[in-house]
């Protein structure tokens, strides 16, 4: 080989070595140095994270009756860039899903890649559409698995259960307050698909199973709820009030057994509900409680040992001038015992009870009964109510607050206060959630009764309870609230309606009755509130005459449902058949008429 050939050969070899060295370096650069970056880019093309949706937990009542459930549905979506025959697709989809073809055509002609055509499509409709699209060889329409919430009982317990939005997040009621437990945790799976978009199962990557939402068991008993719903409907029909609320609660544990409000709405037709119908008035509406609040004045005076139950107070013969303003009673009372002040509902007597303990102490008792702060029930949107501190009271506030004026309380706060009397002076936190369980029945959390404080001594609570028994007697203001066979303790309330623009609304009243049964060993505390009830005669619009009988009817049914044993002595005294009550006698008419004038005058202050 001549030197020229050798040098050419070496040159070619060197060129090859150089070339392959470049290739090798490039290979090392791509495979080693840039490996992660390019592997990531490749994975983006073929690997994606598939979300495995968790199922939302059910809501059940105390007896495991289903209140909220899921039903599988599909969301029909479209990718406008994949459509091969827009007009044929519009014709088919609009007829199958019953949506206007013009509206659908407008959506599909937008050239967007993700168009939601219809949500909550039943599984059988989606299957039929899928098959017809396949038969017509129409592309660009896709189906996404989803679930929608159904509420088997419709409007029953609607304000407590609440509802969810499109993203399955609770936005009202227990659905919102317990969303963290109900929602569950979505799982995921990394999958790889081929060019046709089909999953390559052997190449599955990391996977995490979803955790379905927990089940929420409420304290509400649907049997009692049904009784309450029927009674509140009957009351709406009879008295056509603007608003109404009924609450039943077990005093020893704070369990809410039933809660109903009017107006209400159907949970399955929530999109048609008006905002006014969606309010849980038991916890977000303030009202002046009226005479039911006198239990606080009596409790404070007795607990502070300023009075004894048989201490007598001069009730000024029905008219008392204090702080430059007149305070009236509905009847001219002379000397009354503390017990009789509650039984006969004397405004002047209650005012003097509050005066005996003083402004600061009386305010402390109001707060100790739980007024002016949230009860802590597991429902969203609860308000504090309105209790002003003594520094901002007027000279006459100490005489008006004891009869339930100048303050704002929620119906639930009033129920809890009455439960405190029924419960030996212990203030219990009301509960609506009984327990949280997993789908397999394992208990995740079980809520036990929570005693917040001892507001008054058990003896004082018993003495007030004794006086409240007298309210539901012929001598009291709520004879119509009596239930044959049982002793009932309770208190009526009639408050003139507050005008949002100031002052009070003429001729409009909030009537209420709060009580418990049986008085000796209370099984439940109940509150009935009707706002602006319309009675046949205006002078009959009183707590004892309107709310009292409603309480009596529902208490009788509830006692039968709970299988409570009638009190033996009363059972002997009263025939087994319920004695039909006579219509209000002349005494009631006269009293009512007088009380109307007195309250109207009193409310001007």
């Amino acid at each position: 080989m001549n030197p020229n050939s050798r040098s050419r050969c070496m040159l070619v070899c060197a060129a090859f070595i150089g070339l392959f060295s470049i290739f090798s370096f490039r290979l090392i650069y791509l495979q080693a140095i840039k490996h992660d970056e390019y592997a990531g880019l490749a994975a983006e093309k073929h690997v994606y994270k598939q979300i495995i949706y968790a199922e939302r937990g059910m809501i059940l009542d105390a007896n495991k009756e289903v209140l909220a459930h899921n039903i599988p549905v599909e969301t029909v979506v479209a990718d406008a860039t994949h459509l091969n025959s827009t007009q044929a697709t519009v014709d088919l989809v609009s007829s199958e899903l019953r949506i206007p073809s013009g509206e659908l055509a407008e959506k599909l002609n937008s050239a967007r890649r993700y168009i939601v055509i219809k949500r909550d499509v039943p599984a059988h409709t989606a299957t039929a559409l899928r098959e017809k699209l396949r038969a017509g060889n129409l592309h660009g329409i896709y189906f996404e698995h989803d679930a929608t919430r159904i509420y088997p009982n419709g409007s029953m317990l609607c304000h407590v259960i609440g509802f969810t939005d499109f993203d399955h997040h609770g936005i009202q009621g227990v659905e919102a307050s317990m969303d963290e437990y109900l929602h569950g945790q979505d799982g995921y799976r990394f999958i790889e698909h081929n060019r046709a978009g089909q999953e390559i199962v052997p190449y599955r990557g990391q996977e995490r199973a979803p955790r379905d939402g927990y089940q929420i068991h409420l304290t509400v008993d649907l049997g009692l709820q049904n009784i309450v719903e029927n009674e509140i409907d009957a009351a709406m029909q009879q008295y056509s009030p603007q608003k109404a609320t009924i609450i039943l609660m077990r005093p020893q544990t704070g369990e809410i057994l039933a809660m109903a409000n009017r107006p209400h709405f159907d949970l399955n037709l929530r999109s048609e509900a008006k905002p006014d119908q969606m309010k849980n008035r038991a916890i977000i509406d303030m009202m002046e409680p009226g005479s039911t609040f006198k239990i606080v004045a009596a409790a404070s005076a007795l607990n502070e040992r300023k009075m004894r139950p048989d201490s007598t107070i001069f009730c000024e013969n029905g008219l008392w001038k204090f702080g430059g303003a007149a305070l009236h009673d509905h009847r001219a009372f002379g000397y009354l015992t503390v017990r009789d002040i509650l039984i006969k509902s004397s405004n002047i007597g209650a005012a003097k009870l509050a005066l005996s303990v003083g402004e600061q102490k009386f305010y402390e008792y109001i707060r100790r009964f739980g007024f002016g702060e949230r009860t802590g029930i597991e429902l969203p949107g609860e308000i504090n109510g309105l209790i002003r501190p003594p520094q901002s009271w007027s000279k006459i506030s100490i005489t008006r607050i004891p009869m339930g004026h100048e303050i704002g309380v929620t119906p639930l706060q009033m129920t809890v206060a009455m439960a405190t009397i029924a419960n030996g002076g212990k203030l219990i936190m009301p509960r609506i959630v009984k327990s949280v369980t997993a789908a397999d029945g394992k208990t995740i959390s079980s809520l036990s009764p929570m005693v917040l404080r001892q507001v008054i001594s058990p003896e004082i609570a018993r003495e007030i309870g004794d006086a409240l028994r007298g309210v539901v007697s012929d001598a009291g203001t709520a004879a119509a609230a009596a239930v044959p066979g049982f002793t009932i303790a309770g208190k009526t309330g009639t408050a003139q309606k507050v005008n949002p623009r100031g002052g009070y609304e003429e001729g409009k009243y909030v009537v209420s009755f709060a009580g418990y049964l049986p008085a000796e060993h209370p099984e439940f505390v109940g509150l009935v509130v009707l706002d602006d009830a319309h009675t046949s005669k205006p002078e009959l619009n009183y707590g004892g005459l309107v709310a009292g009988p409603i309480f009596a009817r529902l208490a009788e049914k509830a006692a039968r449902y709970l299988d409570l044993e009638p009190h033996e002595e009363i059972r002997k005294a009263i025939p087994v058949e319920r004695v039909e009550k006579k219509p209000p006698t002349e005494r009631v008419h006269k009293t009512a008429s007088a009380e109307r004038v007195a309250l109207t005058n009193a409310s001007h202050h």
Partner: protein, 100 residues
């Protein structure tokens, strides 16, 4: 050696194909499971809706259901023994929650 390599190669191809095949079967079984779960969920939702208190009451009002009172002959009445403070007594309630 060549035969071994050939056999190993063929086995690799066969096993890879088997893997794909089993993957497809797994996917089909998963889809069937999802479908069955869906049907089950639909059925339980329908059961909940049809047996709900509201639905039953509606049917009762419409006359599809009828409630007949228990005849006297079918009621067994128990005499409650007199209570003594010194001994355990029978609670005259049938609902245990009422006795709490």
């Amino acid at each position: 050696m060549t035969a071994f390599l050939a056999l190993a190669g063929l086995s690799y191809v066969y096993l890879t194909l088997q893997l794909y095949h089993l993957g497809e079967r797994k996917k089909a079984a998963e889809n069937e499971l999802i479908s069955l779960r869906t049907q089950n969920d639909i059925a339980s939702a329908q059961i909940a809706a049809l047996t709900s208190r509201s639905a039953l009451q509606r049917r009762l009002k419409e006359g599809y259901l009828k409630m007949i009172p228990i005849s006297e002959a079918n009621i067994v009445r128990l005499t409650i023994p007199p209570r003594s403070p010194d001994e355990d007594t029978i609670q005259p309630v049938v609902n245990p929650s009422a006795a709490r």
